[in-house]
Each structure stands twice: as structure tokens, then as C-alpha cells.
């Protein structure tokens, strides 16, 4: 902790850490100093001068002692000129005046300067009503203008589909330019010319080719940059603003929805709340359109029993009929084939309370343990796998602290597509806090670009395990696992596993790892050294590893590396799993996995199970159920007869298209709850209309295991029910005595029952909830050799896939802006591969995998390694699972030229 100093601002004395800027100290003293160019996430610049204040320091005599004035207090030597508060750090005894005649005059003069060229077009400006310039001109400015000359004018332009530029209004605070460079890492904006002629634009004055996040619009204190999707839609006073959590990834950004009537008109950051404050990515900021989509389901659908096959289509039914039908069929199947013929899938997009109810419905009401939220899994994984790899639930660091970690290893994910906010945290850390990035990814993804000064470990596809083993061995060569920050030894299990691990890794010399991965041996050793020796380090992985065919071994290898480098033991370090959905962590916490109850309580443990049996008034099966991939196989084989799929486009998310089609065709009962009549819902027997994230309240757990409240911004769409209501209705129809009135009731039960959540309540989660943690760990650690020798499925080129920024899942397909930004889905090839295949622009390529084929347009991409092809997943036009399921080290496909481009087909 740095030393504290005392400053007096307008007569109020506060104590703040040395080095605090005057503007921040003023905030602590609750004195308002206006700012334009200063921004909490950007270093001081001092461009706009609106924060001018009068500053004085105690006068010192020759011995450095303060001179005392007539009143006995220290005599103040006022600086002859006003100073900018946003660039001046405080010092002991400093006196600041914001209301002295000098300060008032200076502010007024600055305001007049800023308005010299500012047009008086507030009535037609989208910023009007929430414009800082407007507010401050009103508060501090003159009420007349002395300027009679013509103002300088620029042409207003659209900088791409998101940013509207009206440079006349610009006050050249440089927030947009700096934010885009330092936090987005895009550096897409720049000032042109100088002085009064300064104009902010893209470098080539062409439409922006950037992440389209709209953060430049968000930070612009005036209306110089405004958002095109919100252009002239409303004025701020029309909007009811609700702060909730973004549904698009696991980072848990707070988003402020602006609602007029029954329509969401915009989404914004929250200035000073949440993990993200003002930041939002393009999906969070512009991806709310599906909520008001006219195609949403507004009533239940039931496929009448009787003649199977074509002809009996889904028919509208009342909610009560659908509930009764679903319950009757579930009861019938359970009675005839046993509860084990019923499986529950999905739930990663639900709120925590609904996730809890979903598994309670499965386990307590129907008596099946076939529950899994992880529908994209290729290989079966225990429910504790992710928690174990990230330290078993021991206290971890926050995203904010992650941005100050000295060394970060990013494994396998392109964070730009999967976790945009996490990427922004790391980029900002790299820029401002000296974070060093190491990116292990076969493609040179954005984070691995040379300008971010990190190291790119461009491993050969399929060699992930080899790289992790190589790194672990190199780290262990530097010494035993580091002690815990408290000084205590690492857990006993770690010490116990160490000898066996060392033996197993003996073969993984840097040279062997280098040979297997294509990464130079020196780079591997250096990366391990950096991780181990940096004052703090973090390892980040995401769904690329989770949905890998070797996931079990990879997660073990990540854990080994975590212990070996100290990421799991040392202070200010962590291993972070950034899952794919807003509810990924919550689903795991709430036991949406076949082998664990909420709170990672193992089903097999009778004593730990008892409180649940008591609360739920049910006998729980001790045998773990099937995981998602096993449910898929069992349903396709006809062993699982009833499926309930919640909020998941299973037809696209399951690893094997042919198998999932077969499973859905064979199942006697498929219940789907979703917002839209998805492809999966079309194949269902009962469809429940669910509500969107904006129409319900609850709790979400983000990737740092932080619990955050979500708020209801809109009344539910007529006819639609929240998933919790649907589960409760069916449970009651099945004879359970559930009587939750709100999700808060459910949360109370969770807080009573679930280990790790004790003592929490909705009220404790505002404004920012805690990260749950548990000491001792919920899951025991282990050090174990990680190996998986199975070969990849298929032959030919390695198939690389991953999330892309503009398309993430089936809801994104409904948003016009996002689909337009995503453009056509292309199979991307390295120039060498491109030449070898004889491709030319405009061609299409036929990809053949073990399960089927895909035809896609092609594109050249330097970032894809030779011998591989990159195809985005979760893109509207790609049904990647048609190629078949990956196996072992991955999936290989045969590529051949297929004439002109055409859309995806079998």
C-alpha cells in the first residue's frame, strides 16, 4: 500500500493514496471537477483544459518546514496559474479550489473556447440530453456567444455500419483514439491535420475495418461520434434504463438497456458499474435485436400423438395443455422404460436459479441423473473438470487483477471471438501495466500480433497436449511447485503426484516438445521460465480445450502446468476458464452435469447427498448419469427415449450432425424450450416459448466466478414464459409440490443448500457481487500425467475452428447487423495451401470429413497455418458438425475445389 497524503479541496480534507490525481481526489471529497478528456481507463492527457483548478501548496522555509500563517495554519503558496486537475497528482498538504474566482474564470474561458466552433445543433444531435458538453455549458458556460465569424465545418460521414462521425462537434479530447488503440488494440482512429482543423477519422478516411465495438462512441463526451443503429431512435429521457448482464459470453459485462415502450432501442456500458464499466463488444452493444424479433414464439406447440412421421405437424396449444402433455408423456416413459430413459440437455444460457430448477426437475422429480449443460462436448468430462483445472474453487483473482498480472498464457482460444472483454482487459494490461502475453494458438490470432509485444507459440494443430507437457516439464525443471501466498506448501495431493508426473514427463524434453509442436525448444523453455518467474502469472483457456476430443487430458495438463508454474498457488495468479456462454460457470456450479449435485457435491457421496435429499424430499440416485456426448449416442441408439433440451440449438451444437438427427428422430419425446422455433424445436414434440435475458431477473456467474444480478428490462413477451416457470409448471404437473413465486425464492434455497453459496442473497449481489470461493477447495487437486494417444479423426487437412466476433450462436443469426458484419462464412487457407489446391478467389471448396461434407466459399488467410483449414463455427452459414465428430487430437478433412461458391449443403 502506498503512502497516504492529505489534500483539502474546497475546504474538505480527504486522505488519498499518494499519486492520486486531483480529479480523483476531488471525487473522493465529493467535489465536482468537470472532465472531458480524462478517462478512468486511460492515462492522463490534459487535452481539453476544462478541469482547470487553482492549486496551492504549503509554503516551506529553507529548512523545508512549513511556514505558518497569521492564523497558525500553514501558509499556502497558490500557483500563479490554474492547473489541470486531471494531470496533477496530489501531494501532502495540497489545497485545491474549484470555486475561486480564478478557477471559475478559467473554466468559463475554456468553455467558451470549446464552443468557438461547436455547432448549435443539439436538437438534432443524438447525444443531446446526455451530453457532457451540454451539461457543462449549462453549468459553467456563458449564456451568450461572442463569436460572430463562420464556424469551421466538416462533412459528416458514416465510418462503417456502426460509427457516425460528425466532426464539427468534436472537441478533440482524443478519448476515442486512445481507447481504440490502448484498450481495443485496433488503433483504427486517428486525428487528421492539427489545431482547430483537427478531424478524427479512420487513417484512410474509409469505413472503419475494426471490431465495430462502438466504444469510441461510448467514450466520446460529445455527439461527434454517435451510433448508427441508434440514430434518431429516441432521446435519453424517453428511455427506461435497466442495468443487467450481457448474454453473449462468459465475461459478465454489465449492460444498460434503453427501453422505450416495449422495445429495446439501445444497449450501453454502465460508466462506473460492473466488471466492464463503459466497455461493451459489438455483440453486447448491438446484439439485442432478437428480443423484439417478430418471429419469437408466443405460444406453446405440441405435436399431436398418433400417426408418427410426416403429416402430424406441431400445432399451437395453450401453455397448460403443453405442460399437461409433456408431463403425461414423461410420466409414461418413466413408468415404462425407467427414469434412465429421460435426459436433460442444455442450460448454459439460463440464469442460475433456472439452472438449479432444471437439474432439480431431472433429479428430484423424475429421478434421472442424465443432466448435462455442456452440449458441445466431444469427450465425456466429469462435472468437476473445469473447477479442478482452475484450482478447485480456491480464491481466485478478478478480471481487473488479471489485467495487472505480469505474464499471461492464453491457450487455444481466439479471445476476440470467444471473450472479447477478456481480450480488452489483457490488451489494456499490455499497454498500461506491462502485461506480457504468450499466446499458444495454431493461428496468429489478434492477441498474438507482433504489435502487442507478446510471444506467439504457433503450435501445429493437434499438438496441444505435447505443448502443455513440454511447458510443464520445462517449468518443473526450474524447481518444485511454488508455495501458496500464505507461505504454506501446495496441497498434499500436488506433492504426492509430483514424482509420478516428473517420471512421466521425463520424455517431454524441450526438444521432443519442439519436434511435436513445431514451436522452437527455446521458446518453450522461455515461456515456462517467464510463467514461473514472473511476479504474477495467469493461464487462460476456454472452449477450444473444453470441446476438444482430448479435453480430459488437456484439462489435466492445464492443471499440471498451473501447479508447476505457480499459477494455482502463488498470489495474484490464476488459471481461468472462460467458457462460451453467460451461464457456463453457473451451470457447472448448479450441477448441470451428470455426476455432481449443485456445489460440486459428488452424487456418490451419501453423506453429502443427504441435505439435498432432505430439502428435495426425494431419493437421489447415486450412480452418475450420462454426459452430453453419451446422451447423444444413447439417444441415437434408442436407449434414451425422452429428451428435454433447453435454450440450445442442439442440431448445430452437438458434435455430430448425423448422430443428432438420428437421436432426435428416434426419441419418442423431445421437449424444447427456446425463444424461437429453432431447427431443434422443429423436430420436437413439445415446444415451450421461453423469454429472453431482458425479460427475467436472476443471477449469472461469470468466468471469474462472480455472482451478478440480472434485471428485468421488459415485461415478458405475451405468451412466453420464463424457463423457471416452465420447469415449475411441469414439476407440479408431475406431482411435485414446488411453490417458488420468484427466482429470489429459488436463490434462497440455493443459498441454504449449495456449498460455496452459503450466506448469499440477492441483496448482497448489488452493485457488484462477490466471486465465490471455497477454502478448502471444493475439488481435490491432482498432479497426474496427461496423455491421450488416439489419432485424429478423418484425414487430410487439420480443421481449425473457433468463435468469431460477429457471430456467436443461433441468436446472433437473428441480428441483421451482426450477420452483415460477419459476412460470408469462408473456408480460410494459408497461401501455400491455396496454391496447392489451385484455388482462385470466388471458388468454393468441398470439405469432406468422416461424417459428411460441406461446401464453402474460400478465402486466403495468412494467419492459418499450412496444412490446415479454418472454418468459423456458430456462423449462420456453417453447420460444422456435418463433417463429423473430432476424435483424439482433432479432426481432419479432405479439401477439394468445388467450382463456384454456393451456400452450405450436405
Amino acid at each position: 500500500m502506498s503512502a497516504k497524503v492529505r489534500v483539502t479541496i474546497n475546504g474538505r480534507t480527504v486522505e488519498v493514496p499518494a499519486g492520486t490525481l486531483v480529479t480523483d481526489a476531488a471525487r473522493a471529497a465529493e467535489v465536482h471537477i468537470p472532465v472531458f478528456c480524462s478517462h478512468a481507463k486511460l492515462p492522463p492527457l490534459g487535452a481539453c483544459r476544462i478541469c482547470l483548478v487553482e492549486i496551492g501548496l504549503p509554503r516551506k522555509d529553507r529548512d523545508g518546514k512549513p511556514v505558518l500563517g497569521a492564523d497558525g495554519g500553514p501558509e499556502i503558496a497558490w500557483n500563479p496559474k490554474p492547473q489541470t486537475g486531471c494531470t496533477t497528482p496530489v501531494s501532502e498538504g495540497m489545497v485545491v479550489a474549484t470555486d475561486s474566482p480564478v478557477a471559475v474564470k478559467a473554466r468559463k474561458g475554456t468553455m467558451e473556447f470549446l464552443l468557438v466552433n461547436h455547432p448549435l445543433d443539439c436538437p438534432v444531435c443524438d447525444e443531446g440530453g446526455e451530453c457532457q458538453l451540454q451539461d457543462l455549458a449549462f453549468a459553467f458556460g456563458a449564456d451568450f456567444s461572442r463569436m460572430s465569424d463562420a464556424k469551421r465545418t466538416f462533412v459528416s460521414e458514416n465510418l462503417g455500419p456502426v460509427v457516425k462521425k460528425e466532426a464539427n462537434r468534436c472537441i478533440v479530447c482524443m478519448r476515442c483514439v486512445r481507447y481504440c488503440d490502448e484498450i481495443m488494440g485496433e488503433d483504427a482512429l486517428t486525428p487528421h491535420r492539427r489545431g482547430v482543423r483537427t478531424e478524427i477519422s479512420s487513417f484512410d478516411r474509409q469505413p472503419l475495418d475494426c471490431e465495430q465495438c462502438g466504444n469510441c462512441v461510448e467514450v466520446c463526451p460529445v455527439g461527434a461520434l454517435t451510433a448508427l443503429p441508434y440514430r434518431f431512435k429516441a432521446r435519453p429521457w424517453d428511455l427506461r434504463q435497466h442495468i443487467t448482464i450481457c448474454p453473449w459470453c462468459s465475461n459478465g459485462c454489465s449492460v444498460r438497456l434503453g427501453v422505450r415502450g416495449t422495445e429495446i432501442l439501445r444497449a450501453r456500458g454502465t460508466e462506473r458499474r460492473g466488471v466492464n464499466q463503459e466497455y461493451l463488444c459489438v455483440r453486447g452493444r448491438f446484439g439485442y435485436g432478437f428480443v423484439n424479433d417478430a418471429a419469437r414464439l408466443t405460444g406453446a406447440l405440441v405435436r399431436p400423438p398418433g400417426a408418427a412421421g410426416a403429416g402430424n405437424a406441431l400445432e399451437p396449444a395453450s401453455f397448460e395443455e403443453a405442460v399437461a402433455h409433456a408431463a403425461a408423456r414423461l410420466r409414461e416413459i418413466a413408468a415404462r422404460d425407467g427414469a434412465d430413459a429421460i435426459a436433460f440437455l442444455g442450460g448454459e444460457k439460463l440464469g442460475l436459479e433456472e439452472q438449479y430448477l432444471f437439474q432439480k426437475l431431472a433429479r428430484a422429480v423424475l429421478g434421472t441423473n442424465h443432466v448435462d449443460s455442456r452440449t458441445r462436448l466431444v469427450a465425456p468430462l466429469p462435472g468437476t473438470a473445469f473447477l479442478k483445472a482452475t484450482g478447485g474453487g480456491r480464491p481466485s483473482i478478478s478480471l481487473d487483477e488479471l489485467g495487472r498480472t505480469k505474464e499471461v498464457l492464453v491457450l487455444g482460444d481466439d479471445l476476440q471471438g470467444e471473450s472479447p472483454f477478456l481480450q480488452a482487459v489483457l490488451l489494456r494490461g499490455q499497454h498500461q501495466q506491462g502485461v506480457h502475453l504468450t499466446v499458444a494458438h495454431p493461428r496468429r490470432v489478434k492477441l498474438a500480433r507482433a504489435r502487442f509485444g507478446g510471444v506467439w507459440l504457433g503450435l501445429a494443430p493437434g499438438s496441444e497436449l505435447a505443448l502443455l507437457n513440454g511447458l510443464t516439464r520445462a517449468a518443473l525443471d526450474l524447481g518444485d511447485p511454488l508455495p501458496a501466498p500464505s507461505g504454506g506448501p501446495p496441497p498434499a495431493e500436488v506433492a504426492a503426484g509430483l514424482p509420478a508426473l516428473r517420471t512421466a514427463l521425463a520424455a517431454w524434453t524441450p526438444e521432443r516438445a519442439a519436434q511435436a509442436t513445431g514451436v522452437p525448444a527455446a521458446a518453450i523453455v522461455a515461456a515456462a521460465r517467464r510463467l514461473r518467474e514472473a511476479p504474477s502469472r495467469a493461464i487462460v483457456f476456454g472452449r477450444a480445450y473444453a470441446e476438444h476430443a482430448q479435453a480430459a487430458a488437456l484439462l489435466q495438463a492445464v492443471e499440471n502446468l498451473g501447479w508447476a508454474t505457480g499459477a494455482l498457488t502463488a498470489g495474484r495468479s490464476c488459471v481461468l476458464y472462460a467458457g462460451p456462454h453467460s451461464g457456463t460457470q453457473g451451470a457447472l456450479d448448479m450441477g448441470l452435469a451428470p455426476d455432481v449435485l449443485p456445489g460440486y457435491v459428488p452424487l456418490a457421496d451419501a453423506a453429502a447427498r443427504a441435505p439435498f435429499e432432505k430439502q428435495w424430499n426425494a431419493k437421489l440416485g447415486a450412480a452418475p448419469g450420462l454426459t452430453a456426448p453419451e446422451i447423444l449416442a444413447a439417444a441415437a441408439a434408442g436407449r434414451v427415449k425422452a429428451l428435454w433440451i433447453v435454450g440450445d440449438e442442439w442440431v448445430r451444437s452437438a458434435p455430430d450432425r448425423a448422430l443428432v438427427e438420428q437421436a432426435l428422430a428416434r426419441a419418442e419425446l423431445v421437449i424444447v424450450s427456446d425463444l424461437f422455433l429453432t431447427e431443434t424445436a422443429r423436430r420436437a414434440h413439445v415446444v415451450f416459448p421461453a423469454v429472453s435475458f431482458a425479460e427475467k431477473e436472476g443471477v449469472l456467474v461469470d468466468c471469474e466466478r462472480r455472482l451478478q444480478r440480472t434485471a428485468r428490462a421488459l415485461a415478458p413477451r405475451r405468451g412466453a414464459k420464463s424457463d423457471g416457470e416452465i420447469f415449475q409448471a411441469v414439476a407440479r404437473a408431475l406431482g411435485a409440490a414446488w411453490s417458488y413465486r420468484t427466482n429470489e425464492d429459488v436463490f434462497r434455497e440455493i443459498a441454504r443448500l449449495v456449498p460455496g453459496y452459503e450466506g448469499l442473497s440477492w441483496a448482497t449481489l448489488l452493485p457488484l457481487g462477490p466471486q465465490w470461493a471455497s477454502e478448502p477447495a471444493r475439488v481435490a487437486a491432482s498432479l497426474r500425467p496427461a496423455a491421450d494417444e488416439r489419432p485424429a479423426a478423418g484425414e487430410g487437412l487439420w480443421l481449425l475452428s473457433g468463435g468469431v466476433l460477429f457471430q456467436q450462436g443461433s441468436l446472433g443469426h437473428r441480428i441483421e447487423l451482426l450477420t452483415r458484419l460477419a459476412g460470408a462464412a469462408c473456408a480460410r487457407f494459408h497461401p501455400d495451401e491455396w496454391k496447392r489446391l489451385g484455388l482462385t478467389a470466388g471458388d468454393a471448396v468441398l470439405l469432406e470429413g468422416p461424417g459428411g461434407s460441406l461446401t464453402l466459399p474460400v478465402a486466403v488467410d495468412e494467419s492459418v497455418p499450412p496444412g490446415a483449414v479454418f472454418v468459423p463455427y456458430a456462423h449462420r452459414d456453417v453447420e460444422l458438425n456435418r463433417l463429423g465428430s473430432p476424435g483424439g487430437a482433432g479432426l481432419r478433412v479432405k479439401a477439394s475445389k468445388a467450382g463456384i461458391a454456393q451456400r452450405t449443403g450436405v
Binding site: 443539439c122 436538437p123 438534432v124 443531446g128 459528416s156 432521446r235 424517453d238
Partner: protein, 148 residues
């Protein structure tokens, strides 16, 4: 006593020879004072374009929350107003309006005025929601601004 009576009757009788104040409404109509505030109009510029730019300042100034404005972007080839923005929908709920004139005062474009029309009775509630086509003056009144 007689004198007082005579004075009183004199006043009464005097009224017989004055012009009557009562108006035979609806056959006769009152001419309102220049600053009378009745039903609103939306004015036009001399070139026929709408003065209103859809800024919603009238709506936010209105103490009775009687005004609804939804703005949109002008089609540059067929603009409705000067500049980029115009009111796509403009509605006043005359059941709520209290004829205070705040909207008129707030309008930066001199677009909305409370005019002289006071015959606002109707049979249906919906009829009191005056839409933009009812409020906007005809092309022939382009450039007309009420005298205040």
C-alpha cells in the same frame, strides 16, 4: 331611497341599449386574442418543409406528458425538414394537454404553436390524439407563423 332605486334601475335599463355579450354559438364565433392558446399547429418553412426537426424538446418540456414524438432520418432526396432529422410521428393527446404553452416555449425551431382553435369536443377518446397530419398546417400556409 327613491334615488337609490332609480340609480339601480337606471343601470339595468342602461344595459338594454348596449350590444349583447352572449354569442349565438355555434352560429357566431368568438375572435380570440392573439395570445390565446388553443389546439396546436405544426408550422412550415417558406419552402414548404416542416419546421419541426423531431428533437422532442416539446415532449420533455410538457408538464402533462401529452406529446409523443418519434424521430427519423430524412431521405436526402425527399426531405421532410431542413437537416437530417424529422418527426416521423408527432402526436398530442389533447385530453392531457393543459394548454400551458410550454411546448411552444421549448421548441428551438419555432415549429409548434398553440393556435386559436378551441372546438375540441369529440365523441371518441381516440379522436383526442391529434396526429401529425392533423397538426401540420397545409402547404398553402408555408411560412405562416402566428402573431404573438
Amino acid at each position: 331611497m327613491i334615488k337609490e332605486l332609480a340609480t339601480g334601475l337606471g343601470v339595468t335599463l342602461g344595459q338594454f341599449f348596449k350590444k349583447p355579450v352572449t354569442l349565438q354559438y355555434p352560429n357566431e364565433k368568438l375572435v380570440m386574442f392573439p395570445r390565446f392558446r388553443g389546439l396546436h399547429i405544426l408550422a412550415r418553412h417558406e419552402d414548404g418543409l416542416e419546421r419541426c426537426v423531431g428533437c422532442e424538446l416539446c415532449a420533455v418540456a410538457c408538464p402533462a406528458d401529452a406529446i409523443f414524438v418519434k424521430a427519423a432520418e430524412n431521405d436526402p432526396d425527399r426531405p421532410s425538414s431542413h437537416g437530417e432529422r424529422y418527426a416521423e410521428r408527432y402526436e398530442i393527446n389533447m385530453l392531457r394537454c393543459i394548454f400551458c404553452g410550454m411546448c411552444e416555449e421549448a421548441c428551438p425551431e419555432d415549429a409548434i404553436f398553440l393556435e386559436k382553435d378551441y372546438e375540441l369536443a369529440d365523441y371518441r377518446r381516440e379522436a383526442f390524439i391529434y396526429t401529425k397530419d392533423e397538426l401540420l398546417v397545409g402547404e398553402e400556409k408555408a411560412g405562416y407563423l402566428p402573431v404573438r
